[in-house]
Amino acid sequence: MLKDLFNPNPRKKYITLPAHTEYSSAVQGSVGACPKCGKLNREEDLETSFKVCPECGYHYPLTAGERIWIMTDENSFREINKGLQTTDPLAFPDYAERVSKAKEDTGLEEAVITGTAAVNGEDVVLGVMDTRFLMGSMGSVAGEKIARAFERACAERMPLVFFTASGGARMQEGMLSLMQMAKTSAAAARFHEEGLLYISVLTHPTTGGVTASFATLADMIIAEPGAMVCFTGPRVIEQTIHQKIPQGFQQAELLLERGMIDEIVPRREMKEFLGKVIALHKVDSNAF
């Protein structure tokens, strides 16, 4: 299957769309001039390169659907907890409108999608986030889906792989959002107690309350090249304490150097990498 993905024949539609998910295949969102090198990329080229600029290796942001499509084995993804619905618990101004607009614009129900899937032949519980949906912010629904993903993986004794991308906690749900940091961290803690594998893949951008909770609580923290990962974003740092931001600050490459993450894996190699890591954890539990 993986071989098929790399089929160079551009005329052949190189993957069949999983009919049961509406998280469609085709590369969505705006493409075009690479934000890093300026090269004008054709949509077809980006499709075969998994939205990585062939010129400079810039990783374009992915939608949740694209991520699932690229990272899971064909037809293997089954969404769980799809019925969780965002409400407007604080009756926060414009929140309901913003949520419906995000739903309309993205075709998603929320910023987090979870499910079961096969990654390079390995069964996992998978979570992906989509920054097009209110900056991938974590509110009650996101937190609940994440906690349930941990619980599902726990019940099925499966590894959990989470692709993060988020602006942080969703302020329109106030303290309920902040407490999702506590909830997801507690769920991660319990998951670890069970001796199961949790891999987080930090993608651009992972910030705020997501960085300061489940995203960094994994056994292995992987990042995509160039991903910005931080607690406080550069703009806020500049605004609040007027400190000058060093070059490449908060980028995955520097985080690796500083020992904050385990590895940077290019998108094209990610699926295979995850498969290998997971396979390495399939040991006989009675061994010793």
């Binding site: 769980i80 907890n81 799809k82 019925g83 969780l84 619905q85 965002t86 409400t87 618990p89 604080l90 101004p93 414009d94 009650s140 629904v141 937190g143 609940e144 906690a169 969703r170 302020m171 749900e173 106030g174 303290m175 309920l176 959002s177 902040l178 407490m179 999702q180 940091m181 506590a182 909830k183 961290s185 507690a186 991660a188 803690a189 319990r190 670890h192 107690e193 705020g208 309350g209 960085t211 300061a212 909770s213 489940f214 995203a215 960094t216 609580l217 990962v229 931080c230 607690f231 406080t232 806020v236 740092i237 609040t240 304490i241 400190q243 931001i245 060093p246 600050f249 500083r258 904050m260």
Partner: protein, 324 residues
């Protein structure tokens, strides 16, 4: 600026009181008997004050919670605990003065106490970094709670921070990582934990000390996902609507109690915790005692189960059961 005007009634009150005492002086000097009128005015003034303090808006509470005169963690430690011994450092980088921690006795029982520490004046605040911790502060907290678990000491946390420090060095040393690790560790800690929000509970930097079996909050304290100014600047592109945002964020003790996110509100003296320290300490001690006694009488297994349950059930959402 709503910032300055929000507590205007306090100045009004002081001015009126001054005028009233002037009036008293005059009547004394001129030997005119206005005692009845004065008494009525005084009563009116007092009820005006009481009404104002009892109906503080969310934004006014934000101002109250931030008052530099408010008792800080160290003040509570001194007033409530005996023989506090401060323990310093995270064993990796440095000691973060924005979080203090150590061991003490609480009514004779050894406990670990940890809290954000703000300064009272500029010098202290420079030392304490305005109570905004770096990662090493959270790593110190992690170290101290782990130690508390080892020696079966209950943990008492005081929350009072604008938030974790938003600086370059803090980011470089893994602010997010440090907070996350604290959250995870506290959720599994095999000893009772009580958290008190005594002033400002600002975002993740506050929450790191807020995973507890009981969360108590002073009546003028606030606890929020983001500062009203930050919220206003992001959502309205203008900090001028901070007062409105304070209201929408539901950050007061009363709001959070009604959402069952905290266990009890500790009533402050009418004009704020700082205006009658003895009264404040007395009631904090009293409320703390009730929860402390209750927690230490329970088994760790039960506490951990309830602690998880408490975090796990937070969130308001709908669920369409027809999916899956």
């Amino acid at each position: 600026m709503p910032f300055k005007d929000s507590m205007k009634f306090e100045r009004d009150y002081q001015e009126l009181q001054k005028k009233l005492s002037e009036l008293k002086d005059i009547t004394l000097k001129k030997k005119i008997d206005f005692s009845q009128e004065i008494a009525t005015l005084e009563a009116k003034l007092e009820s005006f004050k009481e009404e104002k303090y009892k109906t503080l808006t969310a934004w006014q509470k934000v101002q109250m919670a931030r008052r530099p005169e408010r008792p800080t963690t160290m003040d509570y430690i001194e007033a409530i605990f005996d023989g506090f011994i401060e323990l310093h450092g995270d064993r990796c980088f440095r000691d973060d003065p924005a979080i203090v921690g150590g061991i003490a006795r609480y009514n004779g029982v050894p406990v670990t106490v940890i809290g954000h520490q703000k300064g009272r004046d500029t010098n202290q605040n420079l030392k304490r970094n305005f109570g905004m911790p770096h990662p090493e502060g959270y790593r110190k907290a992690c170290r101290l709670v782990k130690q508390a678990e080892k020696f079966k000491r209950p943990v008492i946390c005081f929350i009072d921070t604008q938030g974790a420090y938003p600086g370059v060095e803090a980011e470089e040393r893994g602010q997010g990582w440090a907070i996350a690790a604290t959250l995870m560790q506290m959720s599994l800690l095999k000893t009772p934990i009580i958290s008190l929000i005594i002033g400002e509970g600002g975002s993740g930097g506050a929450l790191a000390l807020g995973i507890a079996d009981r969360v108590l909050m002073l009546s003028n304290a606030i606890y929020s996902v983001i500062s009203p100014e930050g919220c206003s600047s992001i959502l309205c592109k203008d900090t001028g609507r901070s007062d409105e945002m304070a209201d929408h964020l539901k950050l007061t003790a009363q709001d959070l109690y009604s959402m069952a996110l905290i266990d009890e509100i500790i009533p402050e003296p009418l004009e704020g915790a700082h205006t009658n320290l003895n009264k404040t300490y007395k009631i904090v001690k009293e409320k703390l005692q009730t929860h402390f006694d209750d927690l230490v009488s329970r088994s760790i297994v039960e506490l951990l189960e309830k602690r998880y349950e408490r975090l796990r059930t937070i969130g308001i959402y709908g669920e369409d059961e027809s999916f899956e």
